[in-house]
């Protein structure tokens, strides 16, 4: 919200407001000043001139040569406009002035010297369009600065008003706040708010639901003179980012900015009768609003209606039919109070927010309605010399707007950590217009109507004391020692360690949005897998890309490698640890599964002066898997079970299992998907359910004696059919190897000339040991022979000669 310092000054009994100081005290009391804008800076070197004489330009039909008196001297100015006459007061931009970001210089226009520029309203930023130059009032002093002469010698503060302070959504509210902060008087016009209230019944106001409309005040203005808004009024609106329109509308806006009470003016002659009804809209009832849009309402919305139809959406925007026009003679001025949450709901539903709705949403003070009408009358009187003594209609439900709160002085110290003197607390509250008295270390406070919504409890008053006293004056004290145990849980520590381990192995951690498009799931055929069905849908996505919560990290990692390949980074190992989502039964929160996704593509080893180039393959990915499994499941068996997923290569696709618990999937991305994604290099993907993986870790580490007796290593090379799996051979060797066999390690696979086609040679190193004695070669020989015999039987394996 923007306010101007001069405007604020009208309500303060202070002589001079130092802009930087005001900005600082406001910011440090909770009303953040985002920007301080010195308007006169914008009009530097623009002064008032008097048009002495003018004649046509010798070489142009459109231009005139003007002689302008600026007090100290007379200037020759070439001008393109025609709307002036001798003795007119004009705004002259001298060389060095900036007009619409262009610096004015002395130059020649078609051979004639021009020593400045006479400005139009548009060029001065005072309207969006203008015909000819701006002609100023003859009261303007020649040679004076333009900004001073037209009331633009002002400073605009851009404020952030927190939602709890609807009373600050106005110039008066800010002035009241400043008065408490700097100790100046708050000066308001004193109107007798009971005078002329409901003195006749020529006009009727009917409120159907006082909960939605606690108060509706209105007044008729007959035969309003058709004049333009004075410049000072327009200027203030412009400085506060409100576009001037016509006198009536400008005044409603002015009073709203000043008092915080939104006003709406209807063209009385366009109303059906002398009655206003505040009611809920009928289902599907529609209205054309002043922005020329058709608004379709439902029965949640509140409307202002005459006896024929809705003429405004309450608190949000008026209707086109009753809009004030150039021909308006009679006006019905509405000054009402509507229930905030209802306005908020409707404004959200129809997607329309206005200055008025923004104020109503925050629950403004219903005591303001009549005051605002009186202020409007007052200003109309000043501007248009229009006097009125007619009735103010006021319909309301009586509500309690005064609240008594007891504030314990000791509690203030307890909450803030510093004892504050009762007298000082009392003064702070008094400055905030909260009347109070001290009684036995308790301050009995009475909250005024304009703070009724915000200040409800003792703690609310403590906040008031704290913010006015100043947070910077409070101490900084360590948290008292208590039962503290700062540490990561086992789960958190494991995640952190795995993340670190993966980075140490050369992987880069990515973080992607949790959203995914249905299109993307389809593209990777994820939607066809039972595993990933039951997706969680967003009701109000930003766009199609953000429609679902992702059930897998795969598409995101694919996108990451594609994006990076496009940047010519082609050798990539990435991982992400994030939640994936799955629908739960209705009404329940979805399942959230913390998931590790990992993808490898490109080269594992770059060609180097001492290294051979090598691409990532399945076993790189499985190696990483082995590593993290061994770390947390030192004795657990890791198994890849073949299972086909449509996004994986049909032969390189499986589930990851630890001790018969399925914890994830692993495989090579299907070449067709690779092709469709236009990646042109193989990619390998693995996904682990971190919740399952970590929650099943058993902390069973126990010291085992370091073997005291030597072990025997035997190398065994067998020839088997190509189809035989290493895992099966290993299992058979384990079974036949007795408990003396401690380790098996595959160290070579050979296919080639030395053995038959379709066969392979598998070479294993077996390690035998007994913890109680030294083994004899002969007994190992017997075991190895038995192993060979069994391998022969089972796999038709024979020893490689």
């Amino acid at each position: 919200m923007k306010v101007t310092l001069n405007w604020i000054g009208e309500f303060l009994g202070a002589e001079r407001l130092e802009p930087e100081n005001i900005a600082s005290v406001l910011t440090m009391s909770g009303t953040e000043v985002k920007k301080v804008e010195y308007i006169s800076d914008k009009y530097k070197n623009i002064i008032i001139g008097r048009l002495v004489d003018f004649s046509p330009h010798p070489d142009s039909d459109k231009l005139s040569l003007c002689e302008v008196d600026i007090g100290s001297s007379k200037l020759n100015i070439v001008c393109g406009a025609k709307n002036f006459k001798k003795e007119d007061r004009v705004a002259v931009a001298l060389p060095g002035a900036k007009v619409k970001d262009i610096t004015i210089r002395k130059n020649k226009i078609r051979g004639q010297i021009s020593e400045g520029m006479m400005c139009s309203e548009m060029e001065l930023g005072l309207s969006s369009e203008s015909e000819g130059i701006m002609i100023l009032s003859s009261n303007c002093e020649i040679g004076d600065s333009f900004s001073k002469s037209v009331g633009l010698d002002d400073v605009v503060l851009e404020l952030e008003i927190t939602p709890n302070r609807p009373d600050c959504l106005s110039v008066m509210g800010i002035a009241r706040e400043i008065s408490a902060l700097i100790g100046a008087d708050f000066v308001v016009p004193e109107y007798d708010l009971q005078k002329r209230l409901n003195i006749d019944s020529k006009f009727k106001i009917e409120i159907e639901d006082y909960d939605l409309c606690p108060r509706y005040s209105a007044k008729l203005f007959r035969n309003i003179p058709n004049i333009k808004s004075p410049q000072w009024l327009k200027n203030r609106l412009i400085l506060c980012d409100v576009r001037p329109i016509n006198l009536i509308v400008d005044l409603t806006n002015y009073v709203m900015l000043e008092t915080g009470q939104p006003l709406h003016a209807f063209d009385k002659d366009m109303l059906y009768s002398n009655k206003i009804i505040v009611r809920r809209a009928g289902k599907g009832e529609n209205i054309i609003t002043i922005d020329d849009s058709i608004r379709i309402l439902d029965d949640d919305a509140l409307v202002i209606a005459d006896e024929d139809k809705a003429v405004a959406i309450a608190g949000i925007m008026g209707g086109k039919d009753t809009e004030i026009s150039e021909n308006t003679k009679n006006v019905l001025l509405e000054s009402a109070n509507f229930y905030g949450p209802s306005i908020m709901r409707t404004s959200k539903k129809i997607g329309l927010r206005s200055e008025a709705s923004n104020r109503f949403e925050k629950k403004i003070d219903p005591m303001l309605t009549v005051f605002a009408i009186r202020r409007f009358e007052d200003l109309l009187g000043k501007v248009a010399n229009f006097k009125t003594e007619e009735c103010i209609y006021d319909n309301f439900k009586k509500v309690e707007r005064e609240r008594k709160i007891n504030l314990r002085v000791g509690k203030v110290g307890q909450v803030l950590g510093k004892d504050i003197d009762a007298g000082l607390i009392s003064d702070i509250l008094t400055n905030l217009k909260i009347s109070n008295r001290i009684k036995d270390n308790i301050i009995e406070a009475t909250v005024p109507s304009f703070r009724y919504e915000d200040l409800q409890r003792e703690i609310d008053l403590i906040e008031e004391v704290a913010r006015i006293y100043g947070y910077d004056r409070l101490d900084s004290i360590p948290i008292p020692a208590s039962d503290r145990r700062g540490k990561y849980s086992l789960y958190q520590k494991t995640i952190k360690d795995i993340r670190q381990a993966l980075c140490d192995m050369g992987l880069v951690e990515v973080i992607n949005y949790s959203f995914i498009s249905a299109e993307s799931l389809k593209k990777f055929k994820i939607n066809l897998e039972d595993r990933y069905k039951n997706n969680v849908k967003i009701l109000n996505p930003i766009n199609e890309d953000f429609k679902l919560l992702r059930p897998t990290l795969l598409p995101a990692l694919m996108k990451n490698i594609k994006d990076n390949i496009n940047h010519n980074i082609k050798d990539i190992g990435i991982f992400e640890i994030s939640k994936v989502f799955k629908k739960n039964s209705s009404g329940k929160l979805p399942f959230e599964i913390n998931t590790l996704g990992m993808m490898l593509t490109g080269k594992a080893v770059q060609k180097g002066w001492n290294e051979k180039e090598r691409s990532f393959d399945f076993y790189d990915l499985k190696g990483i898997l082995d590593f993290i499994c061994k770390r947390y499941y030192p004795s657990g068996s890791l198994k890849i079970k073949e299972k086909q997923y449509r996004f994986f290569h049909p032969r390189v696709s499986g589930t990851v299992n630890i001790e018969d618990l399925e914890v994830g999937i692993i495989g090579k991305i299907h070449p067709v998907i690779i092709e469709e994604t236009e990646i042109v290099q193989d990619a390998y993907y693995m996904e682990l359910d971190m919740d399952k993986f970590i929650n099943n870790i058993k902390e069973t580490k126990k010291y085992k004696f370091i073997p005291a007796f030597p072990s025997i290593d035997i190398d065994l090379a067998i020839v088997v059919d190509n189809k035989i799996k290493s895992e099966d051979i290993v299992n058979e060797i384990k079974e036949s190897g007795t408990e003396l066999l401690k380790k098996i390690r595959l160290f070579d696979i050979y296919r080639g000339e030395q053995i038959e086609k379709d066969k392979k040679s598998m070479a294993y190193s077996l390690n035998f040991r007994d913890d109680t004695r030294t083994l004899k070669d002969t007994e190992i020989e017997i075991i190895v022979n038995r192993i060979l015999e069994n391998l022969g039987k089972k796999f038709n394996a024979r020893i490689r000669e």
């Binding site: 939602p163 208590s482 849908k537 990076n564 190992g573 929160l589």
Partner: protein, 370 residues
């Protein structure tokens, strides 16, 4: 006998002036033998000086303590000597033999070292060549900063709590003093899953969940992803927050100030100033926004801090007593404070990153910088 005394005795035997005759015709007495052994030793010592390499040294070894050398032969024949001089002769020869052996060993070590040195000097490698490559992994900048913050708070005795990213309206708004129709709701543009289920717009719901299941004292921080329906240059629909909550018997605003000042000094440096400004949040009272002095301009005001000299980094406040009624605490018995911050913003300020979108584009050229 002490070793030094033995040595003394040996020396006296070797250099006894009066000859003691036995053994052969020529050298029948012990003094002759002594003389001969002394000559052997003298010869050896002289020749050892002239030895130039390991081969010559080996020859010397054969000559003086080889099988056919005088000394070894003497030792072999010692049994034939008369009993009275046998021990003296034996001792003497052995002492000299040992002395020769050790001299040779010392010399041998010297030669071997020289030989090694000469050999190794020829083994030239170019140490300027690149090392064998290990892939350069990298933790995401967000994880790095989250972990850094976690460690700071763990050091102060905090634990780490977590909560669901998809929340109920109750935990995300209602129990946080933001009932339906509350004006603060319009500040949070929310993604909905159903009427009452939504993507959490902040990590604050975990405050309620944690208090429901724990009794004070509690000190937690809550890192996590949060979601708002905003997508433009300065907003991403998902971002990261860290929430903090401390509840105990006598926690006050001054404790909040200390905690956050300590935190800011840890993460941004001790030279940075911290400012607490009144603000409004529905679930804290009194509330504050916390600014850190701008490091670009040193507080004078610049473009980064919009001329104010301060950078906003945290929201905080005393837990609104209403929240305690939602979780069954007695607001007259306990008090506490809460705070929250956006991690991406902290990252941007810490590392001078100027584009929020970089965080989720996962450009490896970006991630690898940190």
């Amino acid at each position: 006998m002490q070793r030094s005394e033995i040595e003394k005795q040996e020396a006296s035997i070797l250099f006894r002036d009066k000859p003691y005759k036995i053994m052969s015709k020529k050298e029948k007495n012990i003094s002759g033998l002594e003389k001969k052994i002394k000559i052997e030793l003298d010869n050896f010592t002289r020749e050892l000086e002239t030895v130039k390499n390991l081969i010559e040294l080996d020859n010397l070894r054969t000559k003086y303590i080889g099988k056919k050398s005088f000394l070894i032969k003497t030792l072999k024949n010692i049994g034939n000597l008369p009993d009275d001089i046998k021990p003296i002769a034996g001792k003497k020869s052995n002492t000299v033999r040992k002395k020769i052996e050790s001299d040779i060993l010392i010399k041998e070590k010297i030669f071997k070292n020289i030989e090694y040195e000469n050999k190794l000097r020829k083994e030239i490698i170019d140490m300027s060549l690149p090392g064998r490559s290990t892939a350069a992994g990298r933790k995401n900048i967000i994880s790095q900063v989250v972990e850094e913050i976690e460690e700071i708070f763990i050091g102060m005795g905090f634990e780490i709590a977590e909560g669901p990213e998809v929340e109920t309206d109750y935990y995300n708004f209602e129990a946080l003093n933001t009932p339906s129709g509350h004006p603060a709701r319009s500040l949070h543009d929310t993604f909905f899953i159903s009427e009452n289920i939504l993507l959490r717009t902040h990590t604050s719901p975990v405050q309620i969940r944690y208090m429901e299941s724990h009794k004070p004292p509690l000190l937690i921080i809550v890192p996590g992803k949060v979601y708002r329906r905003d997508y433009d240059v300065s907003h991403t629909p998902m971002f990261t927050q860290i929430e903090g909550l401390v509840v105990d018997k006598c926690i006050n605003f001054s404790n909040l100030k200390w905690t956050l000042e300590t935190f800011v000094h840890e993460i941004f440096g001790k030279d940075r100033k911290v400012r607490f400004r009144p603000h409004y949040f529905p679930f804290t009272e009194p509330s504050a926004e916390v600014d850190v002095s701008c490091n670009i301009c040193g507080g004078k005001g610049c473009r980064v801090c919009s001329g104010s000299g301060w950078l906003e980094i945290l929201g905080a406040g005393m837990v609104d007593p209403n929240l305690y009624s939602f979780v069954g605490y007695n607001p007259e018995e306990v008090s506490g404070f809460a705070f929250g911050m956006g991690i991406e913003r902290i990252c941007m300020l810490k590392y001078g990153i100027n584009d929020l979108r970089l965080f989720f584009e996962n450009d490896l050229r970006f991630i690898s910088q940190f």
